[in-house]
Amino acid sequence: MSASGLPRVRFDHVTLAFDTPKGLLPVVEDVSYDIREGDFVAVIGPSGCGKTTMMNMLAGFQAPTAGRVLLDGRPVTGPGPDRGVMFQEYGVFPWLTVEENIAFGLTLKANRVPARERAEICRRYLDLMGLAAFAQSYPKHLSGGMRQRLALARAYAVRPQFLLMDEPFGALDAQTRSNMQNLLLEILAVERKTVMLITHSVEEAIYLASRIVIVTARPARVREIVEVPFGYPRDEAIHERPEFGELRSHIRDLVMDEYRAQQGQVRPVSFSE
């Protein structure tokens, strides 16, 4: 992956403020940056700072109150199957089996495919995500990591160009989280997507992303954008590289700085390593 592709997404002086009884509460303020074709952009900042709101605007759940979020030059008007979204709470449909969950998007008018093709796509992602043995199970029988793999499979099945992830591994234990990170890198190596990842783990951001947007305490503004000096494919060994450590302490300093600025404003938060 290179970061030299065409700009696909542009945050153009984006501001979003909530109308509260106490007046306008800005959550995102004058944010501008681009996401290019093939980019893996991680957005990192203190919890509750408004980074999820940024992703929600690109996903089409929320509209900016000022500025524009452009997708291939056109303002985002709503959610769509070109942008797959993964949530921290998985969002797998509990009333459908694993296979039916993956097939769900393919049965909608927007991306309907013939039954045979649907079955092939399901089979492919069941295998890729290691869920084949659970094809006929309901999600209640799956662990957290498996549910998130299912959510990833379901998002991939409709062939989105973008993958938007809101702290997707935040609810997982350290081991599962690390496995999921590797699985994500593997599947991205096979089927490239342009990715926006919201996280508050510095290590996760460096390990996965090609660029990292560090945002300030609320209201979220861009504090700094750093390029990650590692190419793909990557493996765990890059954690040991000196550049990794330098980048980590640099970003951590910035984030801790913002975290301190935010304390007293919102509830405290713990940073995961």
Partner: protein, 255 residues
């Protein structure tokens, strides 16, 4: 085989205990025996009513009333409860009204029902519809209001149209609430049945109990009560079977 035996023993034991307590109360001398018919006397009366006095007709008449009342009541409660639950604005003004009517005991409405609907079959059904509707509407309303918006969001990101979101996400999430509403309405309706059959009913378990009380036929009253309980229990079991079949996906304690 041994397991089956143990299971039926487990299911039967509370009933056997109940009968034992019943005998104990009667034999203890604490209560005037004239006021507590013995279980075997009630059983004999049961057989007599069954063979000679058309007990099954009473059971059928009552069951039909409950069935129609619940069916109509829930058919109305599902869309109404859904709308109130789904739209927060609707909930704000409908909630107190619904609770007001639900709090009114159906029995208190009987004089009015007689005035407006007379004393025939419609009057009894109306009371049961009323009881099922308001108990069902509450369940639907609360259940739908708690629908996780995440699922709707996910469906939108996968490209679902509003119609598809409704049919493929909201409907499946509503089924459990419909089944719960049915169960609650069935319970309330059986409880209300006796009251509804106070309205000059010729047949039915409620009127059987009512007539028996006029002549102080305690054993008949007992038979009537047991029949109501039994039929209600059977209906509830059937509904639970149905739930287990349709809601196999639900996470439940102990599953």
């Amino acid at each position: 085989m041994k397991d089956g035996l143990r299971r039926s023993l487990l299911v039967l034991s509370p009933w056997l205990a109940l009968v034992a307590v019943w005998y104990a109360v009667r034999l203890s001398g604490l209560v005037n025996p004239a006021l507590v018919p013995a279980p075997h006397a009630v059983a004999a009366r049961f057989a007599d009513l069954l063979w000679n006095q058309g007990l099954l007709t009473d059971v059928a008449v009552s069951t039909r009333r409950v069935f129609v009342g619940v069916a109509v009541g829930i058919a109305l409660a599902v869309p109404v409860g859904f709308l109130i639950g789904w739209f927060r604005a609707a909930r704000q003004f409908a909630d107190p009204v619904v609770n007001f009517f639900r709090a009114l005991p159906p029995i208190a409405l009987i004089p009015l029902v007689i005035v407006y609907f007379g004393v025939d079959e419609p009057a009894k059904i109306v009371i049961l519809i009323y009881a099922s509707f308001f108990s069902g509407v509450i369940v639907m309303m609360e259940g739908v209001a708690q629908t996780n918006p995440l699922f709707v969001r996910v469906a939108h990101t996968l490209g679902a149209t509003p119609t598809e979101v409704f049919g493929r996400v909201i409907v499946p999430l509503t089924v459990p609430h419909i089944l719960t509403a049915l169960r609650v309405a069935l319970g309330v309706s059986w409880a209300t049945l006796v009251a509804s059959e106070l309205v000059a009913a010729q047949r039915g378990l409620g009127s059987m109990i009512q007539n028996a009380s006029t002549y102080f036929l305690l054993d008949v009253i007992y038979v009537g009560i047991i029949c109501i309980g039994l039929v209600a229990l059977l209906m509830d079991l059937a509904l639970r079977r149905l739930s287990a079949r349709f809601l196999a996906w639900q996470e439940r304690a102990g599953s």
